[in-house]
Amino acid sequence: TSNSPKEAEGSTGATNAPAAAAEGPAVTIGFSAPAADHGWIAAVTTNAVARAKLYKDLTLEATEGTNDPAQQISAVKSLIAKKVDALVILPFDGKALTEVAKEAMAAGIPVVNLDRAFSSPLASHTFIGGDNYGMGVSAGNFIAAQMKAKNIGNPVIVEIAGLDNLELTQDRSKGFKEALASHGLKVTARQAAEFTAATGQKVASQVLQANTKIDALWNHDDDQGIGVEAAIKQSGRTDEFIMVGGAGSKHVMDLIKADKSFVKATVLYNPSMSGSAISLGRLLAQKKGLSDLVEQEIPASITTYSATVTKENVDSYLPIGFA
Amino acid sequence: MTETMLQMTGIVKRFPGVVALAGVDLDVRPGEVHCLLGQNGAGKSTLIKVLAGAHRPDEGRILWEGSQVGFGSPVAAVRHGIATIYQELDLVDGLSVADNIFLAHEYASAGFVRGRETREVTVALLERLGHPDISPGTEVGRLSAAGKQIVSMARALSHDARLIVMDEPSAVLAHDEVENLFRVIRGLTAAGTAIVYISHRLEEIREIGDRVTVLKDGRTVAAGLDARTTPTTEIVKLMTGRTIEYAFPPRQSEPADGDPLLEVSGLTRAGEFVDVSFAVRPGEIVGLAGLVGSGRSEILETVYGARKAGAGTVSMGGRRVRPGSVPAAVRAGMGLAPEERKAQALFMLASIAENVVASTLPRFARAGFVDRRAALEAAAAQTAALELRPKDPRRPVRTLSGGNQQKVVVGRWLLKGCKVLLLDEPTRGVDIGARSELYALIRDLADSGVGVVVVSSEVPEVLGLADRVLVVADGRIVHEAPAAELDEHQVLDLVMEGSAVITKEDVV
């Protein structure tokens, strides 16, 4: 993983010329996200800021992240009061932020709903986000395929989930479970960490104790995965099973590319989507369309497909692997 | 020997809102016992805190063995050979006796405490104070007020100082303990150590003192008086500015009769007291005499429900009181002014008024809302009756002098006006003037039909104040008689015998 901002930007996929980058009227976009208490959210915020820097005609108002809906509502209200031209909101809790988003729309400020969906179409002009359920499905399918390939009868599949009180974690696990079920497989053990390396190590090391034989392991989040990886190494069971990551960090993609470790794939859930969200927000603010689409209008919903990155296709994804 | 060892001149100490010391002079000679007298709030403790480096004086100079010194901190004073026993026993409850005695001057090599040595020296010190029973390992928090006093004395002895200041060391001690103390003091003075001795008990001054300095309202009003020859009336006049005949109010002529208000029968708590039975009639004052540690406090606290009795019953006006419940006892009309004011009675962060009305709030409340004016006035009246200094009941109680704090504790219960009032060491640290006031108030209460139980370590006080006296030794009532039929020596003999007898039994 890298520490220098330049590389960081590179890894946000922000460098490839953004669509409709042609200068337009100067606009301000308000951005609100949950507290950056884990790598993915942090990357989302960083990417948004990095992306915004690419447009001379754009200023970004990024408010302090918080996991308290009351605080985030108040932040959004402040942004409305500031009369920003567009809002990009990654709500801590989509349902909880719906009302205030509606307010914004009502006030004529177009809202781009990032990743965690509002509960009403009236709350946003556009939704852009990952497919949590699909993410689980991709992971499930990949593992199922691998098991078949190695023709392992009822394999031991363990799942290390992320923050368990988040709805998105439930969706991911649901997708994983159902995908496996469609292949007649099931999750032997599921424990939740908290999206951080430290908790990943803590939970994984004990899950390894709990399961003396493992065939495959899916870890919801690559940042947390750093800890999981460490735990596996420390247990010395480095070539007993395959591990599938989540989100798609540069570090994991490098491992996949090298193909020397137990990390065989990761299912994308890429924080670079915040960059796209900023671009869309800008276009909405400038009342531009998407020139490259047939119909000029900006789609009401973009759900980025959760691709499975393997050593076959890793090179095409490396540029967007986040740090 | 006439050369002076310590000379303090024109010491001034101001606190926000009060001038504690308005120019005090004090000179102490080697090997003498110099007594410091003064009413509550006169400034005695403040003066010795200045001497000990605990307070910085605002004005004045201190000459120690000829050279001018300004003790910036307690350490400095100790280094110069001045040790202090503070009035408010400032010990650390969580630490053992030994650790407290050697706190900040531990026997240690390279920071490691030398345990055995510490213990040995501690045992020796406690022996010297006549208390081989207190083991060095005991947590100080478990000791009685008396026990703690012993430990602070041991602490003072532990740095072999050339001047030891004792701020009311005898307040919590009973007769025999005081004798021990005096024995030690004589040993010290013989070796040339000087003692500054503060006490409100004149008879002690007579016995141990050499010279007397009298403080009044933060000023030295007399110095170098002879402790033995100066007439009491003069000393009292110097202290209080008036003449007080240090006498007890007259008893009611005919002994109280009628059904007892409070009836205690067969009360027992393992290891503390056994089969205690007594009754208190309306208007009667019952005194409990006994040695420190004899368990009088425990008896009172158990009667009051603060401790759960192992066996026996307590009834008020014929009705049994639920055991082990203070609220029940209070509802039944009991009140207890406990022994250890700091730990058991005072709300140090609150004002005097708050403290005085603490048990009486409902009286000043309508539908739970407190009439603060009424409460304040009542408190003011009560504290005025007790000659509290300073007057203003809004001041925080922690800024009061020891004796004045004691008055607040007693005042709380005098104000409450309950059917039966239990007083544990009510006059501890209270000056002569206020004492006679206190006696009068207690007697007034009794005359108004209240039953009073008084625990005091001062036998004369028990005999003078009470109608009936119970002698407690080792947790048993060994004798009961009308106060009129007893004198001090009888009581003391009873106490000693009692304990002797009991301990023999226990051995068998």
Partner: protein, 335 residues
Amino acid sequence: MTATEPATAPDAPVLRRAARLGSLGEARNLGLIIVLVLLTVVGAITAPGLFLTWGNLLNLLTTASVIGVVTVGMTFVIIAGGIDLSVGAIIALASVWCTTLASQGYGIGGMIFAAMAVATIVGAVNGALIAYGRMVPFIVTLAMYVSARGLAEQISGRRSQIVSDPAFAQIAFNKVLGIPLLVVILAVVAVVGWVLLNRTTFGRRTFAVGGNAEAARLAGIDVRRHTLLVYVLSGVCCGIGAVMLTALTNTGASTHGMLYELDAIAAVIIGGTLLTGGRGSLVGSILGVLVFTTITNLFILNNLETPIQNIAKGAIIVAAVLLQRRGDRRNAVTH
């Protein structure tokens, strides 16, 4: 009856002295007010036309309202010598409970009742374990903090539950003479709390219990019952807070009220209440909440990067307390 002499009202100079001294509470509060004023000035300068607007002010107060109500309860608990780590979890549990389909079936009344009932009961459990089980408040409420949130997660299946009844959502939209209802609720709770603390026997006893439990016991106060009541009170405040937060977010979720325990305790302590109990000021606590909320609001308006914000935040808190200490000469102990 007992006083033999007539009541001597404290003489004039004494009164003046007492007045000059002022209570520690007041002194500290003065400090906090200065801090607030300074923050306002900073806001007016750095975010002209944004900070000092009626809208932003109301928004700020609305944000403060939920945590503010919780802080009122916390103030009583801490003055009584205790601590309540479970407030955030209680809010989560209550909000979830009152938004289950079952509860929502009973309409707004049923929902409010559900929230209040749950919160009060949990508070009572805390209090009972502490007062009658004689357990350490920190541990009891820590256990509750874990359990209550767990229960909330279990009930909600870790999915936030939308409020269907528009009447309920209205709680967050209603205004009383132009003031948001939530702010009014905070005001009412604060005033009631202040009166309860400073004008009633209950309040006096709360100070007594926290100041010296043994003395309170020997003074005839039923310390255990009082302790229980204090935690019940905290529970009730959490119930109100839960209703407010649920209305504000239009959802009930097991993730509601995260870190509220820390925010509330911080506000109480910075407000001049002793963590060890026995002394404190409710006005101070409310000022504390406002200070913290204002700091955050300032940052949002000034669009600082979050990490910088946090670094600055810490510095500001320290500065604030130092400022406060100037207001408060009395704790200048000689060391």
